[in-house]
Protein backbone atom coordinates (compact mmCIF):
# COMPACT_ATOMS: atom_id res chain seq x y z
CA UNK A 1 0.00 0.00 0.00
CA UNK A 2 2.69 2.41 1.04
CA UNK A 3 4.78 1.48 -2.00
CA UNK A 4 1.83 2.02 -4.35
CA UNK A 5 1.19 5.43 -2.85
CA UNK A 6 4.88 6.24 -3.07
CA UNK A 7 5.01 5.47 -6.79
CA UNK A 8 1.73 7.25 -7.46
CA UNK A 9 2.74 10.50 -5.79
CA UNK A 10 6.33 10.31 -7.05
CA UNK A 11 5.12 10.02 -10.63
CA UNK A 12 2.64 12.82 -10.01
CA UNK A 13 5.40 15.01 -8.61
CA UNK A 14 7.81 14.28 -11.46
CA UNK A 15 5.04 14.81 -13.99
CA UNK A 16 4.12 18.23 -12.65
CA UNK A 17 7.82 19.03 -12.20
CA UNK A 18 8.30 18.35 -15.91
CA UNK A 19 5.29 20.56 -16.52
CA UNK A 20 7.11 23.48 -14.90
CA UNK A 21 9.82 23.19 -17.55
CA UNK A 22 7.77 22.14 -20.56
CA UNK A 23 4.74 24.42 -20.29
CA UNK A 24 5.12 27.79 -22.00
CA UNK A 25 2.58 29.79 -20.04
CA UNK A 26 4.20 31.22 -16.86
CA UNK A 27 1.00 30.92 -14.81
CA UNK A 28 0.63 27.28 -15.85
CA UNK A 29 4.26 26.69 -14.81
CA UNK A 30 3.66 28.22 -11.39
CA UNK A 31 0.54 26.10 -10.91
CA UNK A 32 2.44 22.96 -11.93
CA UNK A 33 5.00 23.78 -9.28
CA UNK A 34 2.20 24.11 -6.71
CA UNK A 35 0.78 20.73 -7.72
CA UNK A 36 4.27 19.25 -7.52
CA UNK A 37 4.65 20.62 -3.98
CA UNK A 38 1.31 19.14 -2.99
CA UNK A 39 2.44 15.73 -4.27
CA UNK A 40 5.65 16.12 -2.27
CA UNK A 41 3.55 16.85 0.83
CA UNK A 42 1.61 13.67 0.13
CA UNK A 43 4.92 11.77 0.02
CA UNK A 44 5.77 13.14 3.46
CA UNK A 45 2.38 11.94 4.71
CA UNK A 46 3.14 8.40 3.50
CA UNK A 47 6.26 8.59 5.70
CA UNK A 48 4.08 9.58 8.71
CA UNK A 49 5.75 13.01 8.77
CA UNK A 50 2.51 14.96 9.03
CA UNK A 51 4.03 18.13 10.40
CA UNK A 52 6.58 18.47 7.60
CA UNK A 53 3.85 17.75 5.05
CA UNK A 54 1.55 20.43 6.41
CA UNK A 55 4.35 22.98 6.69
CA UNK A 56 5.28 22.15 3.10
CA UNK A 57 1.75 23.03 1.99
CA UNK A 58 1.43 26.03 4.29
CA UNK A 59 4.74 27.70 3.48
CA UNK A 60 5.64 26.80 -0.09
CA UNK A 61 2.26 26.15 -1.69
CA UNK A 62 0.20 28.53 0.43
CA UNK A 63 2.49 31.52 0.88
CA UNK A 64 5.54 31.53 -1.40
CA UNK A 65 3.80 30.33 -4.55
CA UNK A 66 0.83 32.66 -4.05
CA UNK A 67 3.28 35.56 -4.08
CA UNK A 68 5.02 34.12 -7.16
CA UNK A 69 1.71 33.84 -8.95
CA UNK A 70 0.80 37.35 -7.88
CA UNK A 71 3.97 38.76 -9.42
CA UNK A 72 3.70 36.67 -12.60
CA UNK A 73 0.12 37.77 -13.12
CA UNK A 74 0.97 41.42 -12.54
CA UNK A 75 3.87 41.34 -15.01
CA UNK A 76 1.68 39.52 -17.57
CA UNK A 77 4.66 37.91 -19.35
CA UNK A 78 3.84 37.30 -22.98
CA UNK A 79 7.40 36.94 -24.29
CA UNK A 80 7.86 33.53 -22.74
CA UNK A 81 4.79 32.18 -24.50
CA UNK A 82 6.00 33.31 -27.91
CA UNK A 83 9.43 31.78 -27.55
CA UNK A 84 10.00 28.78 -29.81
CA UNK A 85 11.55 25.58 -28.56
CA UNK A 86 15.03 25.07 -30.03
CA UNK A 87 15.90 21.51 -31.00
CA UNK A 88 19.59 21.84 -30.18
CA UNK A 89 18.88 23.30 -26.73
CA UNK A 90 16.43 20.49 -26.03
CA UNK A 91 18.94 17.82 -27.08
CA UNK A 92 21.69 19.40 -24.99
CA UNK A 93 19.42 19.61 -21.94
CA UNK A 94 18.29 16.02 -22.39
CA UNK A 95 21.90 14.86 -22.68
CA UNK A 96 22.93 16.60 -19.45
CA UNK A 97 19.93 15.30 -17.53
CA UNK A 98 20.55 11.77 -18.88
CA UNK A 99 24.22 11.87 -17.85
CA UNK A 100 23.30 13.10 -14.38
CA UNK A 101 20.68 10.39 -13.92
CA UNK A 102 23.13 7.73 -15.09
CA UNK A 103 25.78 8.99 -12.65
CA UNK A 104 23.27 9.13 -9.82
CA UNK A 105 21.91 5.64 -10.39
CA UNK A 106 25.38 4.10 -10.74
CA UNK A 107 26.53 5.79 -7.54
CA UNK A 108 23.46 4.71 -5.62
CA UNK A 109 23.57 1.11 -6.84
CA UNK A 110 27.30 0.57 -6.18
CA UNK A 111 27.62 2.43 -2.87
CA UNK A 112 27.73 0.05 0.11
CA UNK A 113 25.78 2.59 2.17
CA UNK A 114 22.62 2.05 0.16
CA UNK A 115 22.79 -1.73 -0.20
CA UNK A 116 22.24 -2.57 3.45
CA UNK A 117 18.75 -2.24 4.94
CA UNK A 118 18.30 0.59 7.41
CA UNK A 119 17.35 -0.22 11.01
CA UNK A 120 13.58 -0.05 11.63
CA UNK A 121 12.18 3.14 13.12
CA UNK A 122 11.74 3.14 16.86
CA UNK A 123 8.30 3.93 18.20
CA UNK A 124 8.27 7.69 18.90
CA UNK A 125 7.85 8.85 22.49
CA UNK A 126 5.95 12.02 21.62
CA UNK A 127 3.93 13.16 18.63
CA UNK A 128 5.99 14.37 15.68
CA UNK A 129 5.22 18.05 16.41
CA UNK A 130 6.54 17.68 19.96
CA UNK A 131 9.63 15.82 18.67
CA UNK A 132 10.44 18.63 16.24
CA UNK A 133 9.96 21.19 19.01
CA UNK A 134 12.26 19.27 21.33
CA UNK A 135 14.92 18.88 18.65
CA UNK A 136 14.83 22.55 17.73
CA UNK A 137 14.85 23.95 21.24
CA UNK A 138 17.05 21.34 22.97
CA UNK A 139 19.63 20.04 20.54
CA UNK A 140 19.81 23.02 18.18
CA UNK A 141 18.75 25.90 20.37
CA UNK A 142 21.56 28.30 19.49
CA UNK A 143 21.45 27.81 15.68
CA UNK A 144 17.68 28.18 15.84
CA UNK A 145 17.94 31.50 17.68
CA UNK A 146 20.64 32.70 15.30
CA UNK A 147 18.43 31.94 12.31
CA UNK A 148 15.64 33.85 14.03
CA UNK A 149 17.89 36.90 14.39
CA UNK A 150 19.01 36.54 10.78
CA UNK A 151 15.40 36.56 9.58
CA UNK A 152 14.66 39.58 11.76
CA UNK A 153 17.60 41.44 10.24
CA UNK A 154 16.39 40.54 6.75
CA UNK A 155 12.88 41.77 7.60
CA UNK A 156 14.19 45.08 8.93
CA UNK A 157 16.35 45.42 5.83
CA UNK A 158 13.38 44.91 3.53
CA UNK A 159 11.31 47.46 5.44
CA UNK A 160 14.15 49.99 5.27
CA UNK A 161 14.68 49.44 1.54
CA UNK A 162 11.00 49.67 0.71
CA UNK A 163 10.54 52.86 2.74
CA UNK A 164 13.19 54.72 0.75
CA UNK A 165 11.56 57.20 -1.59
CA UNK A 166 13.05 57.71 -5.01
CA UNK A 167 14.61 61.13 -5.48
Amino acid sequence: MQLTLFWFFSLLMIGFGAGVVVLRNPVACALSLVASFLALAALFVTLDAYFIAIIQVLVTAGAVMVLFLFIIMLLNLKAEERRRVKLSAMLGGGLIVGCFLELLSSTLSTSPLFSQPLPPLTEPVHSDVAMIGLTLFHSFNLPFQVIGVLLLVATIGVVLLSRQTLK
Binding site: F51, I55, G62
Partner: protein, 400 residues
Protein backbone atom coordinates in the same frame (compact mmCIF):
# COMPACT_ATOMS: atom_id res chain seq x y z
CA UNK B 1 -26.06 -15.26 17.93
CA UNK B 2 -24.83 -18.51 16.36
CA UNK B 3 -28.39 -19.85 16.19
CA UNK B 4 -29.46 -16.69 14.48
CA UNK B 5 -26.70 -16.80 11.88
CA UNK B 6 -27.45 -20.50 11.26
CA UNK B 7 -31.07 -19.58 10.70
CA UNK B 8 -30.19 -16.78 8.29
CA UNK B 9 -27.75 -19.02 6.37
CA UNK B 10 -30.67 -21.16 5.15
CA UNK B 11 -31.84 -18.31 2.93
CA UNK B 12 -28.60 -18.17 0.93
CA UNK B 13 -26.77 -20.62 -1.26
CA UNK B 14 -23.58 -21.96 0.43
CA UNK B 15 -21.29 -19.98 -1.89
CA UNK B 16 -23.18 -16.75 -1.28
CA UNK B 17 -23.17 -17.44 2.45
CA UNK B 18 -19.39 -17.92 2.62
CA UNK B 19 -18.99 -14.75 0.57
CA UNK B 20 -21.22 -12.85 2.98
CA UNK B 21 -19.37 -14.29 5.94
CA UNK B 22 -15.92 -13.30 4.64
CA UNK B 23 -17.33 -9.90 3.70
CA UNK B 24 -18.62 -9.49 7.26
CA UNK B 25 -15.27 -10.53 8.69
CA UNK B 26 -13.43 -8.14 6.38
CA UNK B 27 -15.77 -5.31 7.40
CA UNK B 28 -15.29 -5.99 11.09
CA UNK B 29 -11.48 -6.28 10.89
CA UNK B 30 -9.79 -3.10 12.20
CA UNK B 31 -8.79 -1.73 8.79
CA UNK B 32 -12.09 -2.67 7.14
CA UNK B 33 -14.04 -1.12 10.00
CA UNK B 34 -11.98 2.06 9.68
CA UNK B 35 -12.60 2.24 5.94
CA UNK B 36 -16.36 1.81 5.96
CA UNK B 37 -16.99 4.01 9.02
CA UNK B 38 -14.83 6.74 7.48
CA UNK B 39 -16.71 6.42 4.22
CA UNK B 40 -20.04 6.61 6.02
CA UNK B 41 -18.98 9.58 8.13
CA UNK B 42 -17.67 11.48 5.11
CA UNK B 43 -20.82 10.85 3.09
CA UNK B 44 -23.17 11.90 5.86
CA UNK B 45 -21.12 14.96 6.80
CA UNK B 46 -20.88 16.07 3.18
CA UNK B 47 -24.62 15.60 2.79
CA UNK B 48 -25.36 17.67 5.88
CA UNK B 49 -22.94 20.40 4.87
CA UNK B 50 -24.24 20.71 1.31
CA UNK B 51 -27.80 20.87 2.63
CA UNK B 52 -26.69 23.49 5.10
CA UNK B 53 -25.01 25.46 2.29
CA UNK B 54 -28.17 25.73 0.22
CA UNK B 55 -30.21 26.76 3.24
CA UNK B 56 -27.57 29.30 4.27
CA UNK B 57 -28.12 30.98 0.92
CA UNK B 58 -31.85 30.98 1.67
CA UNK B 59 -31.20 32.28 5.20
CA UNK B 60 -28.99 35.01 3.80
CA UNK B 61 -31.83 36.23 1.60
CA UNK B 62 -34.45 35.99 4.31
CA UNK B 63 -32.33 37.64 7.01
CA UNK B 64 -31.23 40.43 4.67
CA UNK B 65 -34.89 41.00 3.85
CA UNK B 66 -35.69 41.09 7.55
CA UNK B 67 -32.94 43.63 8.17
CA UNK B 68 -34.01 45.81 5.24
CA UNK B 69 -37.71 45.50 6.11
CA UNK B 70 -38.60 43.47 3.02
CA UNK B 71 -40.19 40.04 2.68
CA UNK B 72 -37.55 38.08 0.80
CA UNK B 73 -38.22 34.83 -1.08
CA UNK B 74 -41.46 33.41 0.36
CA UNK B 75 -43.31 32.00 -2.65
CA UNK B 76 -41.79 28.57 -3.36
CA UNK B 77 -43.13 26.20 -0.75
CA UNK B 78 -44.09 27.15 2.79
CA UNK B 79 -42.25 30.37 3.72
CA UNK B 80 -40.13 29.90 0.59
CA UNK B 81 -38.39 26.86 2.03
CA UNK B 82 -38.15 25.19 -1.40
CA UNK B 83 -36.39 28.23 -2.86
CA UNK B 84 -32.92 26.51 -2.91
CA UNK B 85 -34.30 23.82 -5.23
CA UNK B 86 -35.74 26.45 -7.55
CA UNK B 87 -32.40 28.30 -7.52
CA UNK B 88 -30.48 25.12 -8.30
CA UNK B 89 -32.80 24.31 -11.22
CA UNK B 90 -32.42 27.83 -12.57
CA UNK B 91 -28.63 27.76 -12.35
CA UNK B 92 -28.38 24.32 -13.97
CA UNK B 93 -30.58 25.29 -16.89
CA UNK B 94 -28.75 28.50 -17.74
CA UNK B 95 -26.16 28.67 -20.50
CA UNK B 96 -22.65 27.92 -19.32
CA UNK B 97 -20.94 30.68 -21.22
CA UNK B 98 -17.18 30.95 -21.77
CA UNK B 99 -15.85 34.32 -22.97
CA UNK B 100 -13.96 34.24 -26.27
CA UNK B 101 -10.56 35.31 -24.96
CA UNK B 102 -10.67 33.35 -21.74
CA UNK B 103 -8.17 30.57 -21.13
CA UNK B 104 -10.66 27.72 -21.32
CA UNK B 105 -8.91 25.09 -19.18
CA UNK B 106 -8.10 27.39 -16.26
CA UNK B 107 -11.40 29.22 -16.62
CA UNK B 108 -13.21 25.93 -16.00
CA UNK B 109 -10.76 24.69 -13.36
CA UNK B 110 -11.07 27.76 -11.12
CA UNK B 111 -14.62 27.18 -9.75
CA UNK B 112 -13.68 23.64 -8.72
CA UNK B 113 -10.61 24.88 -6.90
CA UNK B 114 -12.81 27.28 -4.94
CA UNK B 115 -15.11 24.49 -3.84
CA UNK B 116 -12.52 21.87 -2.79
CA UNK B 117 -10.51 23.49 0.07
CA UNK B 118 -13.43 24.27 2.41
CA UNK B 119 -14.63 20.68 2.03
CA UNK B 120 -11.12 19.40 2.82
CA UNK B 121 -11.14 21.43 6.03
CA UNK B 122 -14.21 19.53 7.21
CA UNK B 123 -12.13 16.35 7.27
CA UNK B 124 -10.35 17.20 10.52
CA UNK B 125 -13.14 18.95 12.43
CA UNK B 126 -14.53 16.94 15.35
CA UNK B 127 -18.23 17.34 14.62
CA UNK B 128 -19.35 15.12 17.48
CA UNK B 129 -17.95 13.19 20.43
CA UNK B 130 -18.58 9.56 19.51
CA UNK B 131 -21.47 7.48 18.28
CA UNK B 132 -21.57 3.72 19.06
CA UNK B 133 -17.93 4.00 20.07
CA UNK B 134 -16.85 5.50 16.75
CA UNK B 135 -15.09 8.82 17.04
CA UNK B 136 -17.00 11.51 15.16
CA UNK B 137 -13.99 12.97 13.36
CA UNK B 138 -13.11 11.83 9.86
CA UNK B 139 -9.36 12.17 10.41
CA UNK B 140 -8.04 12.90 13.87
CA UNK B 141 -4.51 13.98 12.96
CA UNK B 142 -1.88 15.40 15.28
CA UNK B 143 -1.52 18.59 13.26
CA UNK B 144 -5.24 19.27 12.73
CA UNK B 145 -5.11 22.95 13.57
CA UNK B 146 -2.31 23.82 11.17
CA UNK B 147 -3.84 21.53 8.56
CA UNK B 148 -6.83 23.89 8.65
CA UNK B 149 -4.54 26.88 8.15
CA UNK B 150 -2.63 25.19 5.33
CA UNK B 151 -5.80 24.29 3.44
CA UNK B 152 -7.27 27.75 3.84
CA UNK B 153 -4.00 29.18 2.53
CA UNK B 154 -4.35 27.27 -0.75
CA UNK B 155 -7.99 28.28 -1.15
CA UNK B 156 -6.86 31.54 -2.74
CA UNK B 157 -5.79 29.75 -5.95
CA UNK B 158 -9.31 29.30 -7.26
CA UNK B 159 -10.07 33.00 -6.99
CA UNK B 160 -6.75 34.09 -8.45
CA UNK B 161 -7.10 31.68 -11.37
CA UNK B 162 -10.65 32.84 -12.06
CA UNK B 163 -9.45 36.43 -12.14
CA UNK B 164 -6.57 35.65 -14.45
CA UNK B 165 -8.22 33.13 -16.79
CA UNK B 166 -11.24 35.36 -17.47
CA UNK B 167 -8.89 37.70 -19.34
CA UNK B 168 -10.96 40.69 -18.35
CA UNK B 169 -10.24 43.76 -16.26
CA UNK B 170 -12.64 43.53 -13.35
CA UNK B 171 -12.06 39.87 -12.57
CA UNK B 172 -8.32 40.50 -12.76
CA UNK B 173 -8.57 43.30 -10.22
CA UNK B 174 -10.67 41.03 -8.03
CA UNK B 175 -8.06 38.28 -8.21
CA UNK B 176 -5.22 40.67 -7.35
CA UNK B 177 -7.14 42.11 -4.42
CA UNK B 178 -7.97 38.66 -3.18
CA UNK B 179 -4.34 37.54 -3.20
CA UNK B 180 -3.04 40.47 -1.21
CA UNK B 181 -5.96 40.34 1.19
CA UNK B 182 -5.61 36.65 1.90
CA UNK B 183 -1.84 36.85 2.41
CA UNK B 184 -2.31 39.74 4.83
CA UNK B 185 -4.98 38.08 6.89
CA UNK B 186 -3.52 34.60 6.92
CA UNK B 187 -0.71 35.87 9.14
CA UNK B 188 -3.01 37.20 11.81
CA UNK B 189 -5.26 34.16 11.43
CA UNK B 190 -2.37 31.80 12.12
CA UNK B 191 -0.73 33.88 14.83
CA UNK B 192 -3.98 34.52 16.67
CA UNK B 193 -4.52 30.85 17.52
CA UNK B 194 -1.00 30.23 18.82
CA UNK B 195 -2.13 31.09 22.40
CA UNK B 196 -4.58 28.18 22.21
CA UNK B 197 -1.80 25.76 21.30
CA UNK B 198 0.25 27.12 24.18
CA UNK B 199 -2.57 26.68 26.67
CA UNK B 200 -3.68 23.25 25.45
CA UNK B 201 -0.26 21.94 24.46
CA UNK B 202 -1.50 20.13 21.36
CA UNK B 203 -2.38 20.78 17.74
CA UNK B 204 -4.91 17.97 17.58
CA UNK B 205 -8.40 19.44 17.29
CA UNK B 206 -9.86 16.55 19.29
CA UNK B 207 -7.48 17.27 22.16
CA UNK B 208 -8.38 20.95 21.98
CA UNK B 209 -12.08 20.13 22.24
CA UNK B 210 -11.42 17.66 25.06
CA UNK B 211 -9.52 20.38 26.93
CA UNK B 212 -12.54 22.64 26.55
CA UNK B 213 -14.82 19.92 27.87
CA UNK B 214 -12.68 19.68 30.99
CA UNK B 215 -11.64 23.30 31.51
CA UNK B 216 -14.41 25.31 29.86
CA UNK B 217 -14.75 26.88 26.44
CA UNK B 218 -11.89 29.02 25.21
CA UNK B 219 -13.96 32.20 25.23
CA UNK B 220 -15.05 31.57 28.84
CA UNK B 221 -12.67 29.07 30.45
CA UNK B 222 -14.57 28.68 33.72
CA UNK B 223 -16.17 25.26 33.51
CA UNK B 224 -14.05 22.68 35.19
CA UNK B 225 -15.06 19.06 35.28
CA UNK B 226 -17.43 19.66 38.20
CA UNK B 227 -20.04 21.08 35.87
CA UNK B 228 -21.54 17.75 34.92
CA UNK B 229 -24.89 16.04 34.98
CA UNK B 230 -24.93 15.77 38.77
CA UNK B 231 -24.21 19.44 39.28
CA UNK B 232 -27.51 20.25 37.61
CA UNK B 233 -29.40 18.41 40.36
CA UNK B 234 -27.27 19.94 43.10
CA UNK B 235 -26.94 23.70 42.42
CA UNK B 236 -24.61 24.13 45.38
CA UNK B 237 -22.13 21.78 43.77
CA UNK B 238 -22.39 23.72 40.51
CA UNK B 239 -21.60 26.98 42.26
CA UNK B 240 -18.67 25.34 43.95
CA UNK B 241 -17.43 24.16 40.57
CA UNK B 242 -17.69 27.64 39.08
CA UNK B 243 -15.88 29.13 42.08
CA UNK B 244 -13.14 26.52 41.68
CA UNK B 245 -12.78 27.50 38.05
CA UNK B 246 -12.35 31.20 38.88
CA UNK B 247 -8.67 30.90 39.71
CA UNK B 248 -6.28 33.77 39.00
CA UNK B 249 -4.62 31.76 36.21
CA UNK B 250 -7.92 31.12 34.46
CA UNK B 251 -9.01 34.73 34.79
CA UNK B 252 -5.71 36.03 33.43
CA UNK B 253 -5.66 33.52 30.58
CA UNK B 254 -9.11 34.71 29.64
CA UNK B 255 -7.66 38.03 28.39
CA UNK B 256 -5.37 36.63 25.65
CA UNK B 257 -7.94 34.04 24.67
CA UNK B 258 -10.63 36.67 24.16
CA UNK B 259 -8.18 38.74 22.11
CA UNK B 260 -7.28 35.77 19.96
CA UNK B 261 -10.97 34.96 19.49
CA UNK B 262 -11.57 38.51 18.33
CA UNK B 263 -8.64 38.49 15.86
CA UNK B 264 -9.50 35.05 14.53
CA UNK B 265 -13.17 35.90 14.09
CA UNK B 266 -12.49 39.12 12.20
CA UNK B 267 -9.75 37.54 10.08
CA UNK B 268 -12.16 34.78 9.18
CA UNK B 269 -14.42 37.38 7.56
CA UNK B 270 -11.46 38.48 5.44
CA UNK B 271 -10.49 34.91 4.58
CA UNK B 272 -14.00 34.04 3.43
CA UNK B 273 -14.35 37.32 1.48
CA UNK B 274 -17.41 38.40 3.40
CA UNK B 275 -18.48 41.94 4.05
CA UNK B 276 -17.02 44.15 5.53
CA UNK B 277 -13.99 42.66 3.74
CA UNK B 278 -15.49 41.57 0.42
CA UNK B 279 -13.13 43.72 -1.66
CA UNK B 280 -12.41 40.91 -4.20
CA UNK B 281 -16.01 40.97 -5.37
CA UNK B 282 -17.12 44.45 -4.34
CA UNK B 283 -20.21 44.83 -6.53
CA UNK B 284 -20.17 48.62 -6.65
CA UNK B 285 -16.55 48.78 -7.81
CA UNK B 286 -15.82 45.56 -9.69
CA UNK B 287 -19.30 44.39 -10.83
CA UNK B 288 -18.78 40.87 -9.47
CA UNK B 289 -15.03 40.80 -9.01
CA UNK B 290 -13.38 37.52 -9.87
CA UNK B 291 -16.63 35.81 -10.92
CA UNK B 292 -17.90 38.55 -13.24
CA UNK B 293 -17.48 36.43 -16.38
CA UNK B 294 -19.04 33.27 -14.98
CA UNK B 295 -22.58 32.08 -15.53
CA UNK B 296 -24.64 29.00 -14.71
CA UNK B 297 -22.88 26.31 -12.63
CA UNK B 298 -19.52 28.08 -12.83
CA UNK B 299 -21.02 30.99 -10.96
CA UNK B 300 -22.96 28.65 -8.70
CA UNK B 301 -19.76 26.87 -7.65
CA UNK B 302 -18.18 30.19 -6.62
CA UNK B 303 -21.30 31.03 -4.74
CA UNK B 304 -21.51 27.65 -3.01
CA UNK B 305 -17.76 27.68 -2.40
CA UNK B 306 -18.07 30.94 -0.51
CA UNK B 307 -20.84 29.54 1.67
CA UNK B 308 -19.03 26.26 2.24
CA UNK B 309 -15.99 28.29 3.30
CA UNK B 310 -18.24 30.21 5.69
CA UNK B 311 -19.56 26.98 7.17
CA UNK B 312 -16.17 25.35 7.59
CA UNK B 313 -14.84 28.65 8.97
CA UNK B 314 -17.69 28.68 11.49
CA UNK B 315 -16.83 25.05 12.26
CA UNK B 316 -13.21 25.95 12.95
CA UNK B 317 -14.25 28.86 15.20
CA UNK B 318 -16.65 26.54 17.04
CA UNK B 319 -13.98 23.87 17.49
CA UNK B 320 -11.26 26.23 18.66
CA UNK B 321 -13.19 28.69 20.79
CA UNK B 322 -16.75 27.62 21.42
CA UNK B 323 -16.11 24.17 22.83
CA UNK B 324 -16.76 22.17 19.67
CA UNK B 325 -19.53 19.65 20.27
CA UNK B 326 -19.58 20.15 24.04
CA UNK B 327 -22.36 21.70 26.06
CA UNK B 328 -22.26 22.24 29.82
CA UNK B 329 -24.05 19.49 31.79
CA UNK B 330 -24.32 17.24 28.72
CA UNK B 331 -22.20 14.06 28.81
CA UNK B 332 -20.36 12.83 25.73
CA UNK B 333 -21.26 9.98 23.40
CA UNK B 334 -19.66 7.27 25.53
CA UNK B 335 -22.72 7.47 27.85
CA UNK B 336 -25.15 6.46 25.10
CA UNK B 337 -25.92 7.17 21.49
CA UNK B 338 -28.58 9.77 22.39
CA UNK B 339 -25.90 11.94 23.96
CA UNK B 340 -23.72 11.37 20.91
CA UNK B 341 -26.50 12.68 18.68
CA UNK B 342 -27.06 15.64 21.00
CA UNK B 343 -23.33 16.46 20.77
CA UNK B 344 -23.49 16.46 16.98
CA UNK B 345 -26.61 18.63 17.16
CA UNK B 346 -24.82 21.04 19.51
CA UNK B 347 -21.93 21.39 17.04
CA UNK B 348 -24.23 22.22 14.15
CA UNK B 349 -26.37 24.52 16.32
CA UNK B 350 -23.26 26.53 17.15
CA UNK B 351 -22.31 26.66 13.47
CA UNK B 352 -25.78 27.92 12.55
CA UNK B 353 -25.62 30.59 15.26
CA UNK B 354 -22.25 31.74 13.88
CA UNK B 355 -23.61 31.75 10.33
CA UNK B 356 -26.37 34.03 11.52
CA UNK B 357 -23.72 36.39 12.91
CA UNK B 358 -21.90 36.28 9.55
CA UNK B 359 -25.09 37.26 7.74
CA UNK B 360 -26.02 39.84 10.34
CA UNK B 361 -22.63 41.54 10.01
CA UNK B 362 -22.84 41.53 6.23
CA UNK B 363 -26.11 43.45 6.20
CA UNK B 364 -25.15 45.82 8.99
CA UNK B 365 -21.59 47.04 8.41
CA UNK B 366 -20.40 49.02 5.37
CA UNK B 367 -17.38 47.86 3.36
CA UNK B 368 -13.85 48.86 4.33
CA UNK B 369 -11.78 50.88 1.90
CA UNK B 370 -8.87 48.88 0.50
CA UNK B 371 -6.09 50.77 2.30
CA UNK B 372 -8.08 50.58 5.54
CA UNK B 373 -8.35 46.82 5.12
CA UNK B 374 -4.59 46.46 4.61
CA UNK B 375 -3.78 48.80 7.49
CA UNK B 376 -6.08 46.92 9.83
CA UNK B 377 -4.39 43.63 8.93
CA UNK B 378 -0.76 44.73 9.00
CA UNK B 379 -0.68 47.58 11.51
CA UNK B 380 -3.17 46.33 14.06
CA UNK B 381 -4.02 42.61 13.99
CA UNK B 382 -0.54 41.37 13.20
CA UNK B 383 1.07 43.26 16.09
CA UNK B 384 -1.78 42.50 18.44
CA UNK B 385 -1.48 38.78 17.69
CA UNK B 386 2.27 38.78 18.41
CA UNK B 387 1.85 40.73 21.66
CA UNK B 388 -0.91 38.31 22.56
CA UNK B 389 1.46 35.34 22.21
CA UNK B 390 3.98 36.99 24.54
CA UNK B 391 1.22 37.79 27.01
CA UNK B 392 0.09 34.17 27.06
CA UNK B 393 3.65 32.96 27.52
CA UNK B 394 4.14 35.33 30.46
CA UNK B 395 0.94 34.20 32.15
CA UNK B 396 1.69 30.52 31.59
CA UNK B 397 5.19 30.91 33.00
CA UNK B 398 4.59 33.11 36.02
CA UNK B 399 1.03 32.44 37.20
CA UNK B 400 0.50 28.93 38.47
Amino acid sequence: MDDFSNFISHFFSPAAWTFLKTLGERLMSPIGFLIWTTFLKSTILLGIILGLVSYTVYAERRVSALIQDRLGPNRVGWQGLLQPIADAAKLLLKENFTPKNANYFYFRLAPKLVMIPPILVLGVLPFGSSLFGVQMTIASINVGAIYVLAISSISVYGIVLAGWASNSKYPFLGGIRSTSQMISYELSLALSIVPIFMVVGSLNLNTIVQYQVEQGWMIAPFWPQGMNWHALLHPAAAWQAIAAGMSLRHLLLWIPLIISFFIFFVSMFAETNRLPFDLPEAEQELIGGYHTEYSSMGFALFFLGEYTAMISGAGVITTLFLGGWSLPFIPDGSHGWVWGLINIGAFFAKIIALLFVFIWVRWTLPRFRYDQLMKLGWYFFFELAIVNIFLTALILTYVK
